[in-house]
Protein backbone atom coordinates (compact mmCIF):
# COMPACT_ATOMS: atom_id res chain seq x y z
CA UNK A 1 0.00 0.00 0.00
CA UNK A 2 1.46 3.39 -0.95
CA UNK A 3 1.54 6.48 1.23
CA UNK A 4 -1.22 8.25 -0.74
CA UNK A 5 -3.63 5.35 -0.25
CA UNK A 6 -2.84 5.34 3.48
CA UNK A 7 -3.51 9.08 3.61
CA UNK A 8 -6.90 8.51 1.96
CA UNK A 9 -7.85 5.70 4.36
CA UNK A 10 -6.93 7.68 7.47
CA UNK A 11 -8.63 10.79 6.08
CA UNK A 12 -11.86 8.86 5.47
CA UNK A 13 -11.79 7.50 9.03
CA UNK A 14 -11.14 10.89 10.61
CA UNK A 15 -13.78 12.69 8.55
CA UNK A 16 -16.40 10.05 9.29
CA UNK A 17 -15.73 9.47 12.98
CA UNK A 18 -13.92 12.41 14.51
CA UNK A 19 -14.44 15.68 12.66
CA UNK A 20 -17.54 17.84 12.36
CA UNK A 21 -19.14 17.86 8.92
CA UNK A 22 -18.07 21.39 8.13
CA UNK A 23 -14.38 20.66 8.73
CA UNK A 24 -12.32 19.33 5.86
CA UNK A 25 -8.68 18.34 5.90
CA UNK A 26 -6.05 17.51 3.32
CA UNK A 27 -2.74 15.68 3.54
CA UNK A 28 -0.93 18.73 4.91
CA UNK A 29 -3.51 20.22 7.28
CA UNK A 30 -2.23 20.46 10.84
CA UNK A 31 -4.43 17.97 12.64
CA UNK A 32 -4.26 19.88 15.94
CA UNK A 33 -5.56 23.02 14.21
CA UNK A 34 -8.46 21.00 12.77
CA UNK A 35 -9.45 20.18 16.37
CA UNK A 36 -7.84 16.74 16.81
CA UNK A 37 -7.05 16.34 20.52
CA UNK A 38 -5.15 13.71 22.50
CA UNK A 39 -8.14 11.38 22.82
CA UNK A 40 -8.80 11.56 19.07
CA UNK A 41 -5.13 10.80 18.42
CA UNK A 42 -5.47 7.59 20.42
CA UNK A 43 -8.57 6.72 18.35
CA UNK A 44 -6.54 7.25 15.17
CA UNK A 45 -3.70 5.06 16.46
CA UNK A 46 -6.15 2.29 17.31
CA UNK A 47 -7.65 2.59 13.80
CA UNK A 48 -4.17 2.30 12.25
CA UNK A 49 -3.50 -0.84 14.29
CA UNK A 50 -6.76 -2.40 13.11
CA UNK A 51 -6.60 -1.29 9.50
CA UNK A 52 -2.92 -1.70 8.64
CA UNK A 53 -1.88 -4.30 11.21
CA UNK A 54 0.98 -2.21 12.58
CA UNK A 55 1.49 -0.98 16.11
CA UNK A 56 3.24 2.36 16.49
CA UNK A 57 6.03 1.82 19.03
CA UNK A 58 6.32 4.21 21.98
CA UNK A 59 9.48 5.89 20.67
CA UNK A 60 7.65 6.88 17.47
CA UNK A 61 4.64 8.36 19.26
CA UNK A 62 6.01 11.86 18.74
CA UNK A 63 4.11 15.07 17.93
CA UNK A 64 5.98 15.45 14.61
CA UNK A 65 4.70 12.04 13.47
CA UNK A 66 1.10 13.11 14.18
CA UNK A 67 1.28 16.62 12.83
CA UNK A 68 -0.46 15.98 9.50
CA UNK A 69 -2.02 13.09 7.59
CA UNK A 70 1.13 12.94 5.46
CA UNK A 71 3.50 12.59 8.44
CA UNK A 72 1.21 9.98 9.95
CA UNK A 73 1.01 8.02 6.67
CA UNK A 74 4.81 8.18 6.25
CA UNK A 75 5.22 6.71 9.75
CA UNK A 76 2.79 3.91 8.89
CA UNK A 77 4.58 3.24 5.56
CA UNK A 78 7.94 3.04 7.33
CA UNK A 79 6.56 0.60 9.88
CA UNK A 80 4.87 -1.52 7.21
CA UNK A 81 8.09 -1.71 5.17
CA UNK A 82 10.03 -2.59 8.31
CA UNK A 83 7.57 -5.39 9.16
CA UNK A 84 7.46 -6.79 5.59
Amino acid sequence: MDTNSIIEEIKKYIEKNILAEAVSIDADTELKKAGIDSFSTVEIILFIERKFGVAIPDEQLLPENFKTLRSLALTVTRLMNHTA
Binding site: A20, A22, F39
Partner: protein, 438 residues
Amino acid sequence: MATFNKADLPEKIILSGADCFHLVLDKHAKKHGAGGNVMRKVFYFNDKLDFKKVDAILKSSPVIYWLCNIKLNYGTIINTAYWKFTNAGNEIILQEHNMARENEIPESILNRNITIDAKRFIEADLVYYPSGSCAFVLSWNHILLDAKGTTLLFEHLNQLTAKAQQDTGLYFPAKEKKQNIFQHIKNMYKIKSFVQESARPPVSSVASTKVKPGDGKTCTKIISFDACETKKIQDNAIKAGSRFGPTLFFIACCAHAVHSINKQRNKTGDLWLPVPYDGRLKGATGPMISNCVSFLFYRILKTEFESVPQTVKSLSMQMTRQIKDGIPQKYKMFLNMMRHLPLWLYYFLISNTNKGVFASFLYTSTGDNFSNMETLFGKPVKNITMVPALTYPPGLTFVFLHHLETLHINIAYSQEIINNNELALIEENIKATLLANY
Protein backbone atom coordinates in the same frame (compact mmCIF):
# COMPACT_ATOMS: atom_id res chain seq x y z
CA MET B 1 -26.10 46.23 17.29
CA ALA B 2 -27.52 43.04 15.74
CA THR B 3 -31.05 42.09 16.67
CA PHE B 4 -32.71 38.71 16.84
CA ASN B 5 -36.20 37.42 16.81
CA LYS B 6 -37.07 36.18 20.30
CA ALA B 7 -39.86 34.02 18.92
CA ASP B 8 -37.32 32.00 16.93
CA LEU B 9 -35.57 30.71 20.06
CA PRO B 10 -36.27 27.09 21.02
CA GLU B 11 -39.27 26.67 23.31
CA LYS B 12 -38.02 23.46 24.85
CA ILE B 13 -34.55 21.94 25.28
CA ILE B 14 -34.31 18.48 26.79
CA LEU B 15 -31.52 18.03 29.34
CA SER B 16 -28.73 15.71 28.22
CA GLY B 17 -27.54 12.87 30.43
CA ALA B 18 -24.59 15.00 31.56
CA ASP B 19 -26.96 17.92 32.32
CA CYS B 20 -29.01 15.63 34.55
CA PHE B 21 -25.83 14.54 36.31
CA HIS B 22 -25.36 18.24 37.13
CA LEU B 23 -28.84 18.24 38.66
CA VAL B 24 -27.53 15.55 41.00
CA LEU B 25 -24.41 17.61 41.71
CA ASP B 26 -26.63 20.57 42.52
CA LYS B 27 -28.55 18.45 45.05
CA HIS B 28 -25.22 17.26 46.43
CA ALA B 29 -23.95 20.84 46.74
CA LYS B 30 -27.08 21.89 48.62
CA LYS B 31 -26.78 18.93 51.01
CA HIS B 32 -23.12 19.59 51.80
CA GLY B 33 -23.37 23.38 51.98
CA ALA B 34 -20.85 23.84 49.18
CA GLY B 35 -20.71 27.00 47.08
CA GLY B 36 -23.05 25.82 44.33
CA ASN B 37 -22.45 24.54 40.85
CA VAL B 38 -21.36 27.91 39.47
CA MET B 39 -18.56 28.43 36.95
CA ARG B 40 -16.83 31.76 36.46
CA LYS B 41 -14.59 32.94 33.70
CA VAL B 42 -12.51 36.06 34.29
CA PHE B 43 -10.94 38.13 31.51
CA TYR B 44 -8.41 40.78 32.52
CA PHE B 45 -7.79 43.88 30.39
CA ASN B 46 -5.15 46.59 30.60
CA ASP B 47 -7.72 49.30 29.95
CA LYS B 48 -11.19 50.02 31.19
CA LEU B 49 -13.95 48.45 29.07
CA ASP B 50 -16.79 50.63 27.83
CA PHE B 51 -19.77 49.65 29.99
CA LYS B 52 -22.38 50.66 27.41
CA LYS B 53 -20.65 48.75 24.62
CA VAL B 54 -20.26 45.55 26.65
CA ASP B 55 -23.83 45.82 27.90
CA ALA B 56 -25.16 46.25 24.36
CA ILE B 57 -23.17 43.26 23.03
CA LEU B 58 -24.37 41.01 25.86
CA LYS B 59 -27.97 42.11 25.31
CA SER B 60 -27.74 41.46 21.59
CA SER B 61 -26.96 37.78 22.15
CA PRO B 62 -29.88 35.40 21.56
CA VAL B 63 -28.11 32.73 23.64
CA ILE B 64 -27.73 35.03 26.64
CA TYR B 65 -31.34 36.17 26.30
CA TRP B 66 -32.44 32.52 26.25
CA LEU B 67 -30.32 31.81 29.36
CA CYS B 68 -32.09 34.66 31.18
CA ASN B 69 -35.56 33.40 30.28
CA ILE B 70 -35.81 29.70 30.99
CA LYS B 71 -37.36 27.56 33.68
CA LEU B 72 -36.49 23.98 34.58
CA ASN B 73 -39.23 21.41 34.27
CA TYR B 74 -38.25 18.34 36.27
CA GLY B 75 -38.73 15.05 34.49
CA THR B 76 -41.02 12.15 35.15
CA ILE B 77 -40.57 8.47 34.28
CA ILE B 78 -42.14 9.21 30.88
CA ASN B 79 -40.65 12.63 30.16
CA THR B 80 -37.09 13.68 30.76
CA ALA B 81 -36.36 17.05 32.38
CA TYR B 82 -36.33 20.03 30.03
CA TRP B 83 -35.78 23.78 29.90
CA LYS B 84 -38.84 25.78 29.02
CA PHE B 85 -38.24 29.10 27.30
CA THR B 86 -40.46 31.60 29.11
CA ASN B 87 -39.63 34.63 26.95
CA ALA B 88 -40.40 36.74 30.03
CA GLY B 89 -38.32 39.67 28.80
CA ASN B 90 -35.51 39.32 31.40
CA GLU B 91 -32.28 40.92 30.24
CA ILE B 92 -28.81 40.09 31.53
CA ILE B 93 -27.67 42.50 34.24
CA LEU B 94 -24.14 43.84 33.89
CA GLN B 95 -22.97 45.08 37.30
CA GLU B 96 -20.07 47.48 37.90
CA HIS B 97 -17.67 47.17 40.86
CA ASN B 98 -15.47 50.14 41.60
CA MET B 99 -13.87 49.37 44.94
CA ALA B 100 -11.95 46.20 44.07
CA ARG B 101 -8.39 45.49 45.17
CA GLU B 102 -5.94 45.13 42.28
CA ASN B 103 -6.48 41.89 40.31
CA GLU B 104 -8.89 40.50 42.91
CA ILE B 105 -12.43 39.43 42.19
CA PRO B 106 -14.81 40.88 44.81
CA GLU B 107 -16.25 38.37 47.28
CA SER B 108 -19.74 39.60 46.38
CA ILE B 109 -19.22 38.00 42.95
CA LEU B 110 -17.49 34.84 44.15
CA ASN B 111 -20.09 34.15 46.84
CA ARG B 112 -23.08 34.75 44.59
CA ASN B 113 -24.84 31.49 43.91
CA ILE B 114 -26.83 30.83 40.73
CA THR B 115 -29.16 28.01 41.65
CA ILE B 116 -31.31 25.97 39.31
CA ASP B 117 -34.28 27.98 40.57
CA ALA B 118 -32.63 31.28 39.60
CA LYS B 119 -34.39 33.89 37.47
CA ARG B 120 -31.30 34.21 35.29
CA PHE B 121 -28.74 31.47 34.70
CA ILE B 122 -25.97 33.79 33.61
CA GLU B 123 -24.58 36.95 35.22
CA ALA B 124 -21.99 39.49 34.16
CA ASP B 125 -19.76 41.86 36.14
CA LEU B 126 -17.23 44.54 35.29
CA VAL B 127 -14.57 45.06 37.94
CA TYR B 128 -12.49 48.27 37.82
CA TYR B 129 -9.06 48.40 39.48
CA PRO B 130 -7.16 51.40 40.86
CA SER B 131 -4.46 51.01 38.16
CA GLY B 132 -7.03 51.68 35.42
CA SER B 133 -7.20 48.05 34.35
CA CYS B 134 -10.37 45.99 34.59
CA ALA B 135 -11.82 42.49 34.58
CA PHE B 136 -14.92 41.10 32.95
CA VAL B 137 -16.48 38.20 34.89
CA LEU B 138 -19.12 35.91 33.46
CA SER B 139 -20.80 33.48 35.88
CA TRP B 140 -23.24 30.72 34.99
CA ASN B 141 -24.69 27.52 36.34
CA HIS B 142 -22.65 24.59 35.04
CA ILE B 143 -25.80 22.66 34.20
CA LEU B 144 -26.22 24.81 31.07
CA LEU B 145 -22.75 25.20 29.59
CA ASP B 146 -19.68 22.98 29.66
CA ALA B 147 -16.08 24.08 29.02
CA LYS B 148 -16.29 23.85 25.23
CA GLY B 149 -19.73 25.47 25.23
CA THR B 150 -18.23 28.38 27.13
CA THR B 151 -15.49 28.79 24.55
CA LEU B 152 -18.13 28.83 21.83
CA LEU B 153 -20.09 31.45 23.81
CA PHE B 154 -17.08 33.78 23.93
CA GLU B 155 -16.39 33.22 20.23
CA HIS B 156 -20.05 34.09 19.65
CA LEU B 157 -19.60 37.35 21.63
CA ASN B 158 -16.59 38.20 19.49
CA GLN B 159 -18.64 37.53 16.36
CA LEU B 160 -21.34 39.86 17.70
CA THR B 161 -18.68 42.51 18.36
CA ALA B 162 -17.47 42.14 14.76
CA LYS B 163 -21.10 42.15 13.53
CA ALA B 164 -20.39 38.90 11.68
CA GLN B 165 -23.08 36.58 10.35
CA GLN B 166 -23.74 33.59 12.62
CA ASP B 167 -25.63 30.34 12.28
CA THR B 168 -28.08 30.49 15.19
CA GLY B 169 -29.03 26.84 14.64
CA LEU B 170 -25.68 25.82 16.11
CA TYR B 171 -26.30 27.44 19.49
CA PHE B 172 -28.70 24.79 20.75
CA PRO B 173 -28.50 20.99 20.76
CA ALA B 174 -30.12 19.17 17.86
CA LYS B 175 -32.99 16.79 18.44
CA GLU B 176 -31.65 13.49 19.78
CA LYS B 177 -31.67 10.44 17.55
CA LYS B 178 -33.67 7.52 18.92
CA GLN B 179 -31.42 4.83 20.33
CA ASN B 180 -31.88 1.11 20.61
CA ILE B 181 -33.16 0.59 24.17
CA PHE B 182 -31.68 -2.93 24.43
CA GLN B 183 -28.27 -1.63 23.40
CA HIS B 184 -28.63 1.04 26.10
CA ILE B 185 -29.46 -1.50 28.79
CA LYS B 186 -26.58 -3.79 27.73
CA ASN B 187 -24.17 -0.85 27.86
CA MET B 188 -25.55 0.25 31.20
CA TYR B 189 -24.57 -3.01 32.85
CA LYS B 190 -21.12 -2.96 31.25
CA ILE B 191 -20.37 0.60 32.30
CA LYS B 192 -21.80 0.12 35.79
CA SER B 193 -19.46 -2.79 36.45
CA PHE B 194 -16.53 -0.93 34.87
CA VAL B 195 -17.01 2.15 37.08
CA GLN B 196 -17.66 0.07 40.20
CA GLU B 197 -14.48 -1.89 39.62
CA SER B 198 -12.47 1.22 38.80
CA ALA B 199 -13.72 3.12 41.87
CA ARG B 200 -13.71 0.14 44.23
CA PRO B 201 -12.90 0.95 47.87
CA PRO B 202 -10.53 1.82 49.34
CA VAL B 203 -9.92 5.09 47.50
CA SER B 204 -7.94 7.80 49.18
CA SER B 205 -9.36 11.32 49.03
CA VAL B 206 -8.27 14.68 50.40
CA ALA B 207 -11.77 15.04 51.81
CA SER B 208 -12.56 13.66 55.22
CA THR B 209 -15.97 12.15 55.87
CA LYS B 210 -15.99 13.94 59.23
CA VAL B 211 -15.39 17.42 57.85
CA LYS B 212 -17.92 19.36 55.85
CA PRO B 213 -17.26 22.79 54.39
CA GLY B 214 -19.03 25.21 56.66
CA ASP B 215 -19.57 28.43 54.79
CA GLY B 216 -19.46 27.02 51.27
CA LYS B 217 -16.74 29.49 50.32
CA THR B 218 -14.56 28.61 47.36
CA CYS B 219 -10.93 29.65 47.85
CA THR B 220 -8.67 29.87 44.85
CA LYS B 221 -4.95 29.91 44.26
CA ILE B 222 -3.55 30.73 40.84
CA ILE B 223 -0.16 29.45 39.75
CA SER B 224 1.10 31.04 36.54
CA PHE B 225 4.00 30.03 34.33
CA ASP B 226 5.70 32.36 31.86
CA ALA B 227 6.25 31.46 28.19
CA CYS B 228 9.68 29.96 28.85
CA GLU B 229 8.43 27.77 31.72
CA THR B 230 5.36 26.80 29.70
CA LYS B 231 7.59 25.63 26.85
CA LYS B 232 9.63 23.54 29.31
CA ILE B 233 6.43 22.03 30.75
CA GLN B 234 5.24 21.06 27.26
CA ASP B 235 8.59 19.43 26.50
CA ASN B 236 8.51 17.68 29.88
CA ALA B 237 5.10 16.21 29.07
CA ILE B 238 6.61 14.37 26.09
CA LYS B 239 9.73 13.36 28.03
CA ALA B 240 7.56 11.96 30.83
CA GLY B 241 5.66 9.83 28.32
CA SER B 242 2.54 11.97 27.75
CA ARG B 243 2.85 11.71 23.99
CA PHE B 244 -0.62 12.72 22.81
CA GLY B 245 -0.70 16.10 24.48
CA PRO B 246 0.12 17.23 28.00
CA THR B 247 -3.15 16.18 29.71
CA LEU B 248 -1.89 12.95 31.26
CA PHE B 249 1.28 14.68 32.47
CA PHE B 250 -0.84 17.39 34.12
CA ILE B 251 -3.08 14.80 35.79
CA ALA B 252 0.00 12.89 37.01
CA CYS B 253 1.52 16.07 38.51
CA CYS B 254 -1.78 16.90 40.29
CA ALA B 255 -1.99 13.31 41.56
CA HIS B 256 1.55 13.54 42.97
CA ALA B 257 0.65 16.78 44.76
CA VAL B 258 -2.45 15.14 46.28
CA HIS B 259 -0.41 12.06 47.18
CA SER B 260 2.06 14.29 49.04
CA ILE B 261 -0.82 15.65 51.15
CA ASN B 262 -2.10 12.15 51.85
CA LYS B 263 1.42 11.10 52.79
CA GLN B 264 1.69 13.95 55.26
CA ARG B 265 -1.64 12.90 56.74
CA ASN B 266 -0.53 9.22 56.85
CA LYS B 267 -3.46 8.39 54.57
CA THR B 268 -1.80 7.19 51.37
CA GLY B 269 -3.81 4.96 49.09
CA ASP B 270 -5.04 4.57 45.53
CA LEU B 271 -6.42 7.71 43.88
CA TRP B 272 -9.46 7.67 41.62
CA LEU B 273 -10.78 10.42 39.40
CA PRO B 274 -13.17 10.96 36.51
CA VAL B 275 -11.82 13.30 33.82
CA PRO B 276 -14.26 15.04 31.45
CA TYR B 277 -14.06 14.30 27.74
CA ASP B 278 -15.71 16.60 25.19
CA GLY B 279 -18.11 14.49 23.15
CA ARG B 280 -18.64 17.01 20.32
CA LEU B 281 -17.25 16.23 16.91
CA LYS B 282 -13.91 18.02 16.60
CA GLY B 283 -13.98 21.43 14.97
CA ALA B 284 -17.74 21.70 15.60
CA THR B 285 -19.10 25.17 16.27
CA GLY B 286 -21.97 23.88 18.40
CA PRO B 287 -23.96 23.18 20.35
CA MET B 288 -23.17 25.87 22.87
CA ILE B 289 -25.96 25.05 25.32
CA SER B 290 -25.96 21.70 27.19
CA ASN B 291 -23.17 19.57 28.62
CA CYS B 292 -21.84 17.34 25.84
CA VAL B 293 -19.22 15.62 27.95
CA SER B 294 -18.55 12.08 28.91
CA PHE B 295 -15.76 10.83 31.19
CA LEU B 296 -12.65 8.72 31.33
CA PHE B 297 -11.90 7.15 34.71
CA TYR B 298 -8.43 6.76 36.13
CA ARG B 299 -7.31 4.77 39.13
CA ILE B 300 -3.73 5.40 40.22
CA LEU B 301 -2.43 2.68 42.49
CA LYS B 302 -0.41 3.78 45.51
CA THR B 303 2.49 1.79 44.07
CA GLU B 304 2.48 4.01 40.94
CA PHE B 305 3.80 7.14 42.64
CA GLU B 306 7.50 6.36 42.49
CA SER B 307 7.96 8.81 39.62
CA VAL B 308 5.84 11.04 37.38
CA PRO B 309 6.74 9.02 34.23
CA GLN B 310 5.55 5.87 36.01
CA THR B 311 2.21 7.53 36.81
CA VAL B 312 1.91 8.86 33.23
CA LYS B 313 2.52 5.36 31.89
CA SER B 314 -0.29 3.94 34.02
CA LEU B 315 -2.67 6.75 32.94
CA SER B 316 -1.72 6.28 29.31
CA MET B 317 -2.48 2.57 29.41
CA GLN B 318 -5.82 3.22 31.11
CA MET B 319 -6.75 5.90 28.57
CA THR B 320 -5.92 3.68 25.58
CA ARG B 321 -7.81 0.74 27.07
CA GLN B 322 -10.90 2.85 27.73
CA ILE B 323 -10.94 4.46 24.30
CA LYS B 324 -10.52 0.98 22.77
CA ASP B 325 -13.48 -0.28 24.82
CA GLY B 326 -15.60 2.78 23.95
CA ILE B 327 -16.00 3.70 27.63
CA PRO B 328 -16.75 7.44 27.04
CA GLN B 329 -19.50 6.59 24.51
CA LYS B 330 -20.94 3.91 26.78
CA TYR B 331 -20.84 6.20 29.80
CA LYS B 332 -22.69 8.86 27.80
CA MET B 333 -25.40 6.30 27.02
CA PHE B 334 -25.45 5.38 30.71
CA LEU B 335 -25.97 9.01 31.71
CA ASN B 336 -28.72 9.33 29.11
CA MET B 337 -30.51 6.33 30.62
CA MET B 338 -30.06 7.57 34.19
CA ARG B 339 -31.91 10.81 33.40
CA HIS B 340 -35.15 8.81 33.32
CA LEU B 341 -34.79 8.05 37.04
CA PRO B 342 -36.44 10.27 39.66
CA LEU B 343 -33.85 12.70 40.99
CA TRP B 344 -33.95 11.27 44.55
CA LEU B 345 -33.26 7.76 43.28
CA TYR B 346 -30.50 8.97 40.94
CA TYR B 347 -28.89 10.83 43.86
CA PHE B 348 -29.25 7.81 46.15
CA LEU B 349 -27.53 5.52 43.61
CA ILE B 350 -24.68 7.95 42.92
CA SER B 351 -24.02 8.91 46.53
CA ASN B 352 -24.04 5.32 47.72
CA THR B 353 -21.50 4.14 45.18
CA ASN B 354 -18.11 4.22 46.87
CA LYS B 355 -19.68 5.66 50.02
CA GLY B 356 -20.32 9.04 48.44
CA VAL B 357 -16.70 9.77 47.52
CA PHE B 358 -17.10 11.18 44.02
CA ALA B 359 -13.35 11.39 43.37
CA SER B 360 -9.98 11.73 45.13
CA PHE B 361 -9.68 15.18 43.56
CA LEU B 362 -11.01 16.79 40.39
CA TYR B 363 -9.10 17.82 37.30
CA THR B 364 -10.34 19.87 34.40
CA SER B 365 -8.66 21.60 31.51
CA THR B 366 -9.76 24.08 28.91
CA GLY B 367 -7.28 22.41 26.54
CA ASP B 368 -6.40 24.78 23.74
CA ASN B 369 -9.82 26.42 23.83
CA PHE B 370 -8.53 29.81 24.96
CA SER B 371 -4.92 29.54 23.83
CA ASN B 372 -5.41 31.88 20.87
CA MET B 373 -7.99 34.23 22.33
CA GLU B 374 -6.40 37.62 21.86
CA THR B 375 -9.43 39.89 22.17
CA LEU B 376 -12.87 40.12 23.73
CA PHE B 377 -15.34 42.94 23.03
CA GLY B 378 -12.70 44.23 20.60
CA LYS B 379 -10.10 44.82 23.36
CA PRO B 380 -6.84 42.88 23.91
CA VAL B 381 -7.15 40.28 26.67
CA LYS B 382 -4.25 40.43 29.13
CA ASN B 383 -5.06 37.25 31.03
CA ILE B 384 -7.81 34.69 31.54
CA THR B 385 -8.68 32.58 34.57
CA MET B 386 -11.47 30.22 35.38
CA VAL B 387 -13.02 29.71 38.81
CA PRO B 388 -14.62 26.27 38.75
CA ALA B 389 -17.57 25.02 40.71
CA LEU B 390 -16.17 23.45 43.85
CA THR B 391 -17.61 19.96 44.22
CA TYR B 392 -17.52 18.58 47.76
CA PRO B 393 -16.37 15.94 48.30
CA PRO B 394 -13.52 16.03 47.34
CA GLY B 395 -13.37 19.84 47.70
CA LEU B 396 -10.21 20.21 45.62
CA THR B 397 -10.23 20.99 41.89
CA PHE B 398 -7.33 21.76 39.56
CA VAL B 399 -8.06 23.77 36.42
CA PHE B 400 -5.41 24.04 33.70
CA LEU B 401 -5.78 26.89 31.24
CA HIS B 402 -3.54 27.93 28.34
CA HIS B 403 -3.67 31.52 27.19
CA LEU B 404 -1.40 32.70 24.40
CA GLU B 405 2.00 31.20 25.32
CA THR B 406 1.40 30.81 29.03
CA LEU B 407 -0.04 28.18 31.36
CA HIS B 408 -2.18 28.99 34.40
CA ILE B 409 -3.36 26.57 37.06
CA ASN B 410 -6.26 27.57 39.23
CA ILE B 411 -6.59 25.50 42.37
CA ALA B 412 -10.09 25.74 43.82
CA TYR B 413 -10.39 24.40 47.33
CA SER B 414 -12.26 24.61 50.57
CA GLN B 415 -10.24 25.76 53.58
CA GLU B 416 -11.89 23.10 55.72
CA ILE B 417 -10.32 20.49 53.42
CA ILE B 418 -6.94 22.02 52.57
CA ASN B 419 -5.20 24.26 55.10
CA ASN B 420 -2.62 26.93 54.24
CA ASN B 421 0.39 24.67 54.86
CA GLU B 422 -1.08 21.96 52.67
CA LEU B 423 -1.84 24.47 49.93
CA ALA B 424 1.79 25.59 50.04
CA LEU B 425 2.87 21.95 49.78
CA ILE B 426 0.60 21.41 46.76
CA GLU B 427 2.03 24.50 45.05
CA GLU B 428 5.61 23.49 45.75
CA ASN B 429 5.00 19.92 44.61
CA ILE B 430 3.16 20.78 41.42
CA LYS B 431 5.78 23.35 40.37
CA ALA B 432 8.56 20.87 41.09
CA THR B 433 7.00 18.03 39.08
CA LEU B 434 5.97 20.21 36.13
CA LEU B 435 9.38 21.86 35.86
CA ALA B 436 11.65 18.94 36.79
CA ASN B 437 14.34 17.63 34.45
CA TYR B 438 13.06 14.38 32.99
